[in-house]
Structures are given as structure tokens and as C-alpha cells.
Subunit: 149 residues, 4 copies
């Protein structure tokens, strides 16, 4: 096997990321929010947002705000898992297309980074529910990485 | 004064909108969320999201998720104030540029609808804080209006 | 083999699409533009934009305008190949992330439709060059389908 | 008059910008394209794209590609007029909402920069026609400024 064929390990594994995020970003990463990291890999991650009635909106469907937040967190986690612990990375832009009305069930967010630069990182996220009827939403988000000291 | 010079009144006034939204969308429109309608007009609205520590993220700044939700709700309220009570209108797409790091203060969202169609409504939102140092974010969102019965 | 396992044929094949587009949209689909349909399938397509010096911009790279146009045409072709000949379908919104600086070579656009509705169609496009060093750009575009008579 | 009330002059005036762009970016800035800078100011500009039959698409309307290109060029020109001659600045992302079907007439693009950072510049563009029936399109675009040597 050649060096270039080796799959890179993520910079941070699930347990370590969850521990650090719970300390650094407890507003979102805590025991009650229902948000969890399912998997990480170099270049991506999968998050789960458990269903909560508080996320509903008229039409008995999960709000766009819930979906957008999940997608944005997915890119953040994928960024940390790939370039390492840079918690001050911030979103510069985000675009989302809502595709199908979600049901009263958990959301899964599959994120892959499509650009990993020194200054900007771009992630693409497919948000779905386990009853696979096509993605609920598709999102891209760009993060700015603070300059190195 | 000609008929065409008369400014149209909003379809629903602040108090009526707040009452209906609290009944229809209590997850977001309630006494504790800190979200309030400041003004509505035909074609737009202004919302306020009071500062809450729960909205912070690493870097002691308000999260992108909070800002995106506020912008999306602003377009929804502007739509209701303009075309009338269509609570099942749903976001089809949203784009946001984050421009400046917000401080620990309330957010104001000024929304103007830039397209009012039979099927699609598009709103533009400037999100700022009262200490005016330029907008914190700029957002556009498209809503789909359910077909009339 | 069950009915539901059969892959649907595209509504229009490459030759028929090219013929119709050359008649209906000659400004773009003609012998000189270098734009060609490589493949279509139900739900997607691949286009090629041949390199032309007229597409360059400062930095000796292909302009964003060229890339955006290609992505938008890809969603249009995928829409026609999937729902049939609806040439009056129009773009309602488009979002693009430019990821890598393209070189002086052809561009390939791989499009898959991520939503096929009665009123709106959403396509996702990866734009790359054959020397595969990661995608040059990622784009999503939403088209509105005219109401049926 | 206080120093802070003085309006900054643009870094480059119309004639100088046009001269430099014609030399540096002749593919787009030349005598035949019909693209012209109408005005520049510190923080913005107005461009005109003259009507050309080559920009039409099915439905006898101006193509989205033409409109997107105009909007992208407007942000580029506004950037140059504000931060000075940085021709290697490149678009990192762009989002456009198409609002009304344009007629067979010139397009005007009014651009204002909504963020002027050291690394990123964000512009907002309203694209309209002189027969004012509301904007034809609304666009935002982010440019990356090359690091200073």
C-alpha cells in the first residue's frame, strides 16, 4: 500500500469531539438537546438530531430553523474532525434548499467537505430521515478559519 | 391623491399576528423566547430577538443558527402581513451571508419582500444590532405559498 | 425484476434534446459555443463546455460567469430529460460555491436533480475538469415549471 | 464639516477602471460587449449591460446566465473601486434570486458592498431595467482578496 492510498484518520474522534464541544459549546452540545455525533471521518461527519416536539412548526413538520442549524453544526463538526480543534471558526455563508416535508422523526445530517483551504472550508450536507424517501434538505456552508498566530 | 398612491395597509396588524402565531406556532412565538414583532407593513416587517445567553457559541458571539432562524421568521411574518393568514407557507430556500460578529445584545431584523407572486414569495432581511456598526448578516429567503383550494 | 426496480428512461435522449435546443435556444446551443450534452438519464445529465480563450479572466483562469452558466444549463437539460420538453421552465434561484481555480481545459458538469416537484425542480451540479483534482465548483439551481394548461 | 462626514472618493474612477479592465480583462470589457460602468463610488457601482439578442433564451427573455454575469461583474467593479486595483480577486460564492421576467431592454446593476474585510468582500446587487417595475433579480456575491505580499 502506498502512502497516498492511506485513508487519513480524523483529527479528532467522536468521543473527544463530543467532550470538547460539551465544554466549549454547551448551549448546543449537552445531554438534553438531542444532538449527537454519530460518526466522523477525515473530511466529514454524520450528526443526528433527535425528534423533539419543540422543533415543530405549523403543518406539524420540523421547522426550517432546526434543519438549518443541524446542517451548520454538521459542517462545523466536519471541519473540526478534519483540520483539528479550531472552535473559533465561524460561518461566513450558508445556502439551503428544502426539498421534502420532514415527518415526526429524527434527522440525520451527512456532511462532506468539498473544499479544505487555509482560509475557507466549504461543506455540503444532505439532511434526511431514516425512512428513506429522498433528502429532506440540501445545504452548503462556508466557514472561515481564523489566521494562525 | 390617486388610488395607486395609497399605501396599502398590512393584511394583519402586529397584535393580531402575534395572537395568531402564539396559537399556531407556540414553539417559537411564546412569552419566553424573546422573539417579538416590532412593526409590520404591507410588504415587510421588523422583528426583535432579545439577547439570551443560550444563543451564544464559542467566541462569545451569537450563533449563526439564531441569526438564520430570525431571518427566516422575518420573511414568514412579512408574508403573513402582506398576503394574509397562510400559516402553511413553507421555506423552499434560504441564503445568508454573515458579515460582522454580533455582540451580546438584541438582534433586529428588517425584512422587505422583493417578490410577491402567487406561488413564491421572496424576502430580503438585514439583521443588525442597535449599536449600528453595519449589518450583522444579510439573508434572502423564498417561501412557497400553498395552492388555493 | 419488479416494476419499481426498472430504471426509467430519460424523457428525451441526447440527439433529440440537442436538436430541439438548437432550434429553440440557438443563442447557446449551436455549433460554435463548445457546449455539448454528453449524457442524459432520468434525473440528470452531463454537459461539456469546451475550453475557449474567450472564457478567461484575470489570473488566466476560466471566469465564474462561464461556470455559472454551465451549471444553470445543466439543470435545465436535466429537467427537460426528466419531465419532458418544457422549454419555458425558468431559473428562480441559483447558488454556487467556487472551490478550486480551473485550468485551461474543458469543463464537465454532472447534474442530478434532488427534487422533482410539480412546480419546482432543484438540481445539484458538480463542475470539474478531467484532470481530477477535486471539483472546480458546486452549484444548486431551482427551476419553476410553468403551470399546465 | 467633520472628518468622519467626508464621503470617501472611490479608489479608482470610471475612466481609469474602464481603461485598466479593457487591458486586463478584454474578454468581457471591450467595445462590443455592451457592458459599461455607469458610475462608481466608494463602496459601490452601477453597471449597464446593453440589450443584445444573443442574450435571449426561450420565452424571449434575457437569460439567467447574462444576469448572473452582470451581477458578478458589478461586485468585482465595486471591489476595485473601493479597495483599489486587485484584479486577481476571485468570486468564492454567489447567490441569485430571479424575481421578474426581464424584457428586451438594457439591464442596470446597482451594487453596494455590505462587507469590506481584509480577506473577504461581499456585495449586494439589484438588477433592474429602466422601465421600473421592480427588480429583475437580486444577487449577493463574495470575493476573496489575495493575501498581501
Amino acid at each position: 500500500m502506498h502512502m497516498e492510498d492511506m485513508v487519513k484518520a480524523p483529527a479528532l474522534a467522536v468521543d473527544e469531539l463530543t467532550r470538547r464541544l460539551s465544554a466549549e459549546f454547551p448551549e448546543v452540545w449537552n445531554g438534553q438537546s438531542g444532538l449527537a455525533i454519530e460518526k466522523v471521518w477525515w473530511g466529514g461527519c454524520q450528526l443526528r438530531q433527535a425528534f423533539r416536539a419543540q422543533f415543530l412548526r405549523p403543518g406539524a413538520t420540523i421547522s426550517g430553523a432546526t434543519i438549518m442549524a443541524l446542517g451548520d453544526y454538521a459542517v462545523y463538526v466536519a471541519l473540526l474532525a478534519t483540520i483539528g480543534w479550531e472552535p473559533l471558526a465561524v460561518t461566513t455563508s450558508l445556502n439551503v434548499n428544502f426539498l421534502r416535508k420532514p415527518g415526526r422523526a429524527d434527522l440525520l445530517a451527512d456532511c462532506n467537505l468539498i473544499k479544505i483551504g487555509r482560509r475557507l472550508v466549504v461543506g455540503e450536507v444532505a439532511i434526511r430521515q431514516e425512512v428513506d424517501a429522498g433528502p429532506v434538505a440540501h445545504l452548503t456552508s462556508t466557514y472561515s478559519v481564523p489566521p494562525q498566530r
